[in-house]
Symmetry: C2
Subunit: 306 residues, 2 copies
C-alpha cells in the first residue's frame, strides 16, 4: 500500500475513506478535513472567538493545535475536576501545551469552587459520568459567556458521537437524538457549541498527536471504567471491522437525513435557574442543585459535630 | 427463584418481563401474550382466514400451534425452496405437524416451478438471502390472494425484528424503516401481513416447542452461515446481557414512538409487473426478472450446445 498522493510509505490506511497517506500528507489531510467540517456545518469563522474545552487528552489537544495552525482565534479552557493524579497530570499536559505555543488558557478548579468530582459523587449519590457531564456543561457555557466567546468547541470524535448515537437509539431518547448535531446554535441562554472532530476517528486524532509531538494524557478517567460509552464503542468497532465505513455512514447519514425528523420533539423552551440565572428545565439548574446538596451536607456535618 | 403464579420450580426466567414461570404457567402465558399482541396491533380476528408461512423451524411451528389452540382459522403454507436435505427435513417436519393436527397445509415447490434456491443463486449471481426473500415475498402474497386468505403471518420473533431494525438503523434505510411494523395493511396488491411473535424471544419460542413436543428442524439454513442478521443478533444479545430489557424496549419503542416519524418517506405507490400483474416498483417484478434470467440462461445453454 502506498500514499495516494505521493506513493511514499503510508502511516495510516483509513478504510472508511479508502485512503492511505504518508506522514506529510496525513498531516495536511487532517487540517483540510477539519476545515471542511467546520465549513460544512457552519461551526464558526476566522473572526469568531473560540473557546476550546481541553481535557489534556488526545482529541481536545489535537483540535486546539489544528485550529491554531489553521489561523482560528482559539483559546483553551481547562476545568480541573479534582480527580486525584489523573486531573493533576491532565492539567500539567494542558499547561505545557499552552505554554509551548504561547496560547491563552483559562483554568477553573472545581475542587476550589465546590469540591472535586469524587466528593460530589459521594455526597449526592449520583453516577460519576452524569455529575461530571452536568458540571462541564455548566462551566463551559458560563465561562464562554462571561468571556464573550462566540462558540465553545469540544474534542468529541466520530467514535464518541457514533457510540452515543447508538446508545440513544437503543433507548429511543428522542430528546437527546434531536440534539445530536455537530453544531448547536446559540439560543435561550446557551452559547453556540460545536464538535469539529465529529468526522475523525480516535485513531486519527491519536496519530495526529503522535506526528505533531503533542504530549497528551493517555490514561482514561478512572471513573470511566466499565462505562456504557466504552461498551458501545467496542460494539461499533466490531461492526466496523466486519463492514468498514459503517460507523461514519451511520453518524453522518443520521445528521444529514434523519436528525431533522427528530428536531421537533427535542426543542423545549427553558426557563432560568432561580439561583444562578443559567438556562434550566427546572426551577434550580442541575449544577446549583448539586451545589445546594454539597453545601447542605457540609452544613449538616458541621452542626452534628459542633 | 419460583414461578410467580404458583411458587413451583420455574422452567424459564424472562428478565425483560421480570417474570419466572413454571411449565404450566409459561404455556398459558405464551398463549395470552400472543393473543394480546394480535389484539394490540389489530393483526386479525377469529373470523379471518389466516395463512401461516411455515418453514419447519421453531418459530413458525410454535406460531401455527398456538394460533390453532387459540381457535384461529389458521392454515399452513410451506414453500419448498429446494435446498437439499435441509428442505427435505423441513418439509417432513411441516407435513408431520399438519398431519398430527389434521390441519390444512398448502405446499408449493420452487424446484418444480422454477428451480431451487441454489440454482437461482448460481444463475443470477445474486446473494442467496436476497433471492430467497424475493421468492418468499412473491409466493406468500400470491398464494394468500389466490386462496383468498385475509392475512399472511410469519414467525419473525423479537430477535429477528430487533436485529433487522438495528441493521436498518446502521445504514439508515428509511424505506425499510418505514415498513418495520408488526402488521402491514392490505394495499396496492399486497395482502395484509403480520408478525404475531414479534414480542417473543427465540428462547421463548424454542421452549414453547419443547414443552409442546413440537418436532421442529433445529438446523439453520446452510446459506445463512455468516449472515449479517446472525451477527446483529449476537451484538444485541451482548447488549441485552449487559442491560436486560434493552432488546424489547428498543423494538417496541421504535414501533410505538418512532416509526410514525419515518412513515411518510416509505410509502411509494407501486405499479404492476407487466409479466405477472403482481405489485412491483419496476416494470418487471423481482420474481419475474429472476424467472426470466433463469429461462434465458437455459435458452442460451441450449442454443450453444444445439
Amino acid at each position: 500500500m502506498k500514499c495516494r498522493l505521493c506513493g511514499k510509505k503510508p502511516v495510516i490506511y483509513m478504510p472508511h475513506h479508502r485512503l492511505a497517506l504518508c506522514r506529510e500528507h496525513f498531516d495536511s489531510w487532517f487540517l483540510k478535513h477539519l476545515e471542511r467540517t467546520v465549513k460544512e456545518f457552519r461551526m464558526f469563522s476566522k473572526d469568531d472567538g473560540i473557546l476550546v474545552a481541553v481535557s489534556g487528552g488526545k482529541d481536545s489537544l489535537a483540535l486546539w493545535d489544528a485550529l491554531l495552525r489553521l489561523g482560528y482565534r482559539a483559546d483553551g479552557f481547562y476545568l480541573d475536576l479534582g480527580i486525584g493524579d489523573y486531573s493533576k497530570r491532565s492539567r500539567e499536559a494542558v499547561e505545557r501545551f499552552a505554554g509551548e505555543r504561547g496560547a491563552k488558557l483559562i483554568i477553573r478548579s472545581l475542587s476550589e469552587e465546590l469540591g472535586g468530582i469524587p466528593l460530589l459523587v459521594e455526597r449526592t449519590g449520583r453516577e460519576s459520568c452524569s455529575v461530571c457531564g452536568s458540571v462541564k456543561r455548566y462551566f463551559f457555557n458560563k465561562v464562554a459567556k462571561d468571556h464573550r466567546y462566540a462558540v465553545v468547541v469540544t474534542g468529541h470524535n466520530l467514535d464518541d458521537e457514533a457510540s452515543s448515537l447508538l446508545g440513544n437509539l437503543l433507548s429511543w431518547n428522542l430528546k437527546y437524538l434531536g440534539r445530536k448535531h455537530p453544531v448547536l446554535p446559540q439560543e435561550g441562554g446557551f452559547v453556540r457549541k460545536a464538535k469539529p472532530l465529529c468526522r475523525f476517528t480516535e485513531k486519527e486524532t491519536a496519530l495526529y498527536c503522535l506526528l505533531r509531538g503533542i504530549d497528551y494524557v493517555e490514561e482514561e478517567c478512572p471513573f470511566s471504567e466499565g462505562a456504557t460509552s466504552i461498551f458501545y464503542k467496542e460494539i461499533l468497532n466490531r461492526i466496523e471491522e466486519r463492514s468498514p465505513g459503517t460507523k461514519m455512514r451511520f453518524y453522518l447519514e443520521y445528521v444529514r437525513k434523519v436528525l431533522p425528523l427528530f428536531g421537533q420533539d427535542s426543542k423545549e423552551s427553558l426557563g432560568r435557574c432561580r439561583v444562578c440565572g443559567e438556562p434550566s428545565p427546572s426551577e434550580v439548574c442541575t449544577f446549583c442543585s448539586l451545589r445546594e446538596r454539597v453545601l447542605n451536607f457540609i452544613g449538616t456535618g458541621r452542626s452534628s459535630t459542633g
